[in-house]
C-alpha cells in the first residue's frame, strides 16, 4: 500500500509493482482527465505534476509516487472557478477534440511557473512536449501567452 497526496488530499493505493502512475490515477482514483494515448511518453496527454514538476505519468511506476504530491487536471479548476490557464485555452480555443488538452494545460502551468514572461517562440518550444493531432498549436501558443499575462497580473 502506498500513500500519495493527489490534488491536495492524501489517498491510499495498492498498485501492482508494474502499474504506471497514469493507470493508477485513472483506474483507482477515477481521474479520467489523466489521458493515455501513446503510452510511450511521446504525446504528453498523461502529463501530471509530481511535486510541481511535469511528468509523463504513463512512463512512471505508480510506486515511485509514494509519499509525493500529484496534481492532475482535476486539481486545477472547477467549472465554476476555472484556472486562468483553462480560461485562456477556452478564449483562444487552444483545442479541438480536447483529448490532449489537460496535458497541455498542465505542461503550460509547469512552464509558466518557471518562465512567467515567455516569448511566443519560447512558449511554442515549451508546448512541443505534447501532441495535438487536431493541430491547434497556434492557438495553444496564444492561450499560453494570454494566461501568462493574466497570471502576471494576478501576482503583481
Amino acid at each position: 500500500m502506498i500513500i500519495v497526496r493527489v490534488n491536495g488530499r492524501e489517498q491510499t493505493f495498492e498498485p501492482a509493482a508494474d502499474t504506471s502512475l497514469a493507470n493508477m490515477l485513472r483506474d483507482e482514483a477515477g481521474l479520467i482527465g489523466v489521458r493515455v494515448s501513446c503510452a510511450e511518453g511521446e504525446c504528453g496527454a498523461c502529463t501530471v505534476l509530481l511535486d510541481e514538476q511535469p511528468v509523463t505519468s504513463c512512463l512512471m511506476l505508480a510506486h515511485q509516487a509514494a509519499g509525493r504530491e500529484v496534481t492532475t487536471i482535476e486539481g486545477f479548476g472547477s467549472p465554476e472557478h476555472l484556472h486562468p490557464i483553462q480560461q485562456a485555452f477556452i478564449e483562444e480555443q487552444g483545442f479541438q477534440c480536447g483529448f490532449c488538452t489537460p496535458g497541455f494545460i498542465i505542461a503550460a502551468a509547469a512552464f509558466l511557473a518557471e518562465n512567467p514572461s515567455p516569448t511566443e517562440a519560447e512558449a511554442s518550444i515549451a508546448m512541443s512536449g505534447n501532441i495535438c493531432r487536431c493541430g491547434a498549436y497556434p492557438y495553444i501558443v496564444r492561450a499560453v501567452m494570454t494566461a501568462a499575462e493574466r497570471l502576471r497580473g494576478a501576482t503583481a
Binding site: E42, T72, A121, I131
Partner: protein, 800 residues
Amino acid sequence: MSATINDLAALRDGSKTDQRLSTPARDAFTIVGKGVPVKDAIEKVTGSIKYGVDFAVPHMAHGKILRSPHAHARIVRIDTARAEAIPGVYGVVTHEDAPGGTWENAWFNYRGRIMDGTARFVGDEIAAVAAVSAEIAEHALAAIDIEWEILPAVFDPHEARKPGAPQIRDEGNERDAYVVEWGDIAEGHDLADVLVESDVVFASQQYASIGRNACVAEWMNDRVTLWTSSQTPSELRDGVHEAFEIPLSKVRVMALPSGSSFGSWWSANFMLVTVMLAKKIRRAVKIELSNAECMGTVKRRHIEHTRGRMGAKRDGTLTLAQFDHVIDNGAYGFKDDVGFFCVDMWGRALHGDYQVHAVNTNLVTAGCMRGVGDITLGSAVERTANRVAAELDIDPIEFRLKNQIRPGEPLRMRHSLHNMDCSVEEYLAGIPEELRAEWPELFHLSSGSTAEILTTGAEAFRWSERWQGWGKPDSVDGPLRRAVGVGTGAHVCGVEFEGSSSAVVRINGDGSAKVHASCGRQGQGSETTLSQVAAEELGIPFTMIEIETGDTDSCPWSHGSLASNTLYRIGWAVRAAAKDAKRQLLEIAGREVFHLAPDELQVVEGVIAPVDGSQPGVSVEDVMNMLRLADTLGQTSSITGRPATPMPPSTAFARHFAAHFAEVEVDIETGEIRLTDYLATQDSGTIVNPQVMKNQVIGGAICGAGFALFEELHFGDDGRVLNANMLDYKLLRCADFPHQAGVIFGDSYDPVGPFGARGAGEAPMAASVAAIQAAVFNATGVWVELPMTPERVLTAMGVI
C-alpha cells in the same frame, strides 16, 4: 518575423474576419458568425469529458483481440479449450461464432463477415477473449491454438492487379475503374505548346488519432447497445444490423466524442467483435485498443500512385489533364469512386481524362482519411500544373486564376450520375417540381471558388514581393534557402449516396430546445455550430439549445461526420427541422395567443411577437406553458420539428476551397526543411463560428504539413506495420509549425447550406501539401518526393 505577420494581426484576432461577414443577410444574424466558445469547452479543459476509453458500465468484462501474425492465411483448425479453462475467462469467440451477415463501413470498407476464418493482413481480427480483467484476457489469447494454412500474399497494388495475383477478396482484387472524361484528349495534346509528365507515389498516412478508442457492448435478450467513439453513429448501427441480421430497432449506438479521428473512427470491426463477445457471454464487455492496435490494425490512408500529364497553350490555357491513379485499398477497403475533387477544381482544362483504379492488397485496411484523394491525386495535379506554369514562366496564382473553376461552370465529377441509370434531364423530370425549385443547377458549381481567396491571400502574404520566380529562393544564407509557395485544394461538402441526413429539433415546455442530429464530435465543433444554426433559425438563445449527437435511438439517420458533411448536410437538416418546429410554434401561438397568421409573427431572443410590433411579445416558455395547460386542442406539450423534404443532392453542385501560402527554409546540406511562415485562406461560404473554423483550417494545414514532411507508415516485407507508434510515426509539434500563422475567410454565400455555409475541413489538407511542396521546389530547384524527409531532399538534389 516578416512584416506580413503584423499585417495579419487584425485578421488573426478576428476583427477583420468579422468585417468580411458583411452581406446584408449576414448582418441580421444573431448567433451565426459569432465565435462563441464551443459548448463542451469546460468539460474539455477540466478533463471531465468522456471518450470511448473512459466509458464503463458496472460489472463489465474486458475483452482482447487475437490478431493474425500472417498477412494472408486460412485457419485450418482453432482450439479455444485451453483459453476457456483459464480462471477469470468468461468466453472466447472465433469465426465459428461469427454471425452470417456481412457488413460495411459506409460504402468504402466492405468487411464481409466479422470474422470468416481467413486473415487478410497482419493484425486482422481472428478471435477474442472476454475475462474479468484485460490482463487475463490478454494472457488467455496465448492459449488459443491455431493451425494455419499460409496463403500467398500481395502488398503492391500494381502486383495485385496482375493476372494470377493472390486473390484477397471473393469479389476480386480490383474494383471497376472510376473514369471521368470530357472533351478529346488527342485534341488536348495537339493544342498544347508545353506538355509535362508526372509520376508521383504517395506513402500511407496514419490517422494517428490522439486518444485511441474503446467499445463497450451490452447484449440484452435480443437487443444490443454500444458505447464507443464514432463519427458515424448511424452507419455503425447499420453495420451491427447487417452483421447480426437483427432489426435496426434492436440496435442502439451511443456514440461518444473521440480524440481526433479524421475518418479513423467511423465504424470499425473491433466494435462488432465487442458485440460478438457481449452476445456470447451475456454480459457487458469492453474492448479498449492499445495505441499500436489503433495505428496498425484499424485503418490508414491508401498508398497511391499518380501518373499523368498536363498540357497548356503558351498563354497558360490548360488544354488537357490526363491522369491514371492507382490506390491500394488494403484488405477490407472497397473505395472506388469518391474523393478527387481536384478534378473539378482544375476542370477548366479543355480536355480531361482521369482514371482511378482501386486494388486490394494484404496490407491493413485503407480507408478515407481527411482530404482523401485531394491530398494525393490533388497534390500531384497541383505539382504537374506548377511544372506547366514553370515551363511557361507564369506566376502560380495567375495560372490558377486562369485555370480553376468559378461558380456556374461545369463540375467534371459525376458521382450521382453513376447512381442514375438515365440522363440528368430524365432524372430531373422525375423529381417533383416543388422539390426541384430550390435546387441549383446540377453538375455545375453553385458558389465559391479559389479566385477571391487567392487574390486576398496573395495581398496579405505580400506574394508579389516575396515570389522570385519558379525554382528561385528569395533569400540565401550559406546553406539555408528560403522561398514561398502557394497551393490550392478543393473537396466536397457531404454526400447523399446512402440517403439524406436528417435531424429532429424539439422545443420543450420551458422554451429550451434540443437538437437530435447524428454526427461525430471529433473536435470539429459540430455540437456548437449545429446549435448555432438551430438557435439562429428558432430565435431561441444559444444557451438554451442543447444537442444530442450520439444516440441513434433519438437521432434520425444521418451519414455522420464524413466527407465534410456535418455543417453542410446535417446543418441543413437541423435548420430545416428548426424551421418546421418554429412553424408549428408560430401556428399555435398565432391561433391561441396573438390571433395572427404565423408569418405575421417572429421569435427573437426567445420571445414571440408580431413582426409589426402591434402586440407585446410573449416568451416561448410562456406560450408553451399556456398551450400545455390550456390550448384549445389540449394536445401540445412539446413541439417536434423535422425536415419536410430531403436536401438537394449536393455532390452535384457544392465544393469548398482552400488556398495556402507557405514559406520554407531548406538547409541544402542536411535536407532539413523548416516552415517559417504560413497563411491559410478558406472559402466555405458563411463562417458559422470563426473560432471553430480557424482551428479547422489551421488543423488541416498542420495535418497536411505532416503528410508533406514526415508522416509515412512503413511496412515490413511481411506486410506488417513497422511504426505503429508515435516515436517513429512523426507528427508535427507546436514548434514545427509557425505559431503566427494567419487565416483569412472568403466571402461567398452558399445558396443551399445553412445560412450560406458550406463544408470546411478537407480542402485545407490538400492546399497545405501543395503549397509546401511548391515552396520547397522554389527553395531547392527540385521536386522532392513525399514525405519530403531530409533524406529525400538530399536525394532529389543529387547530394546522396
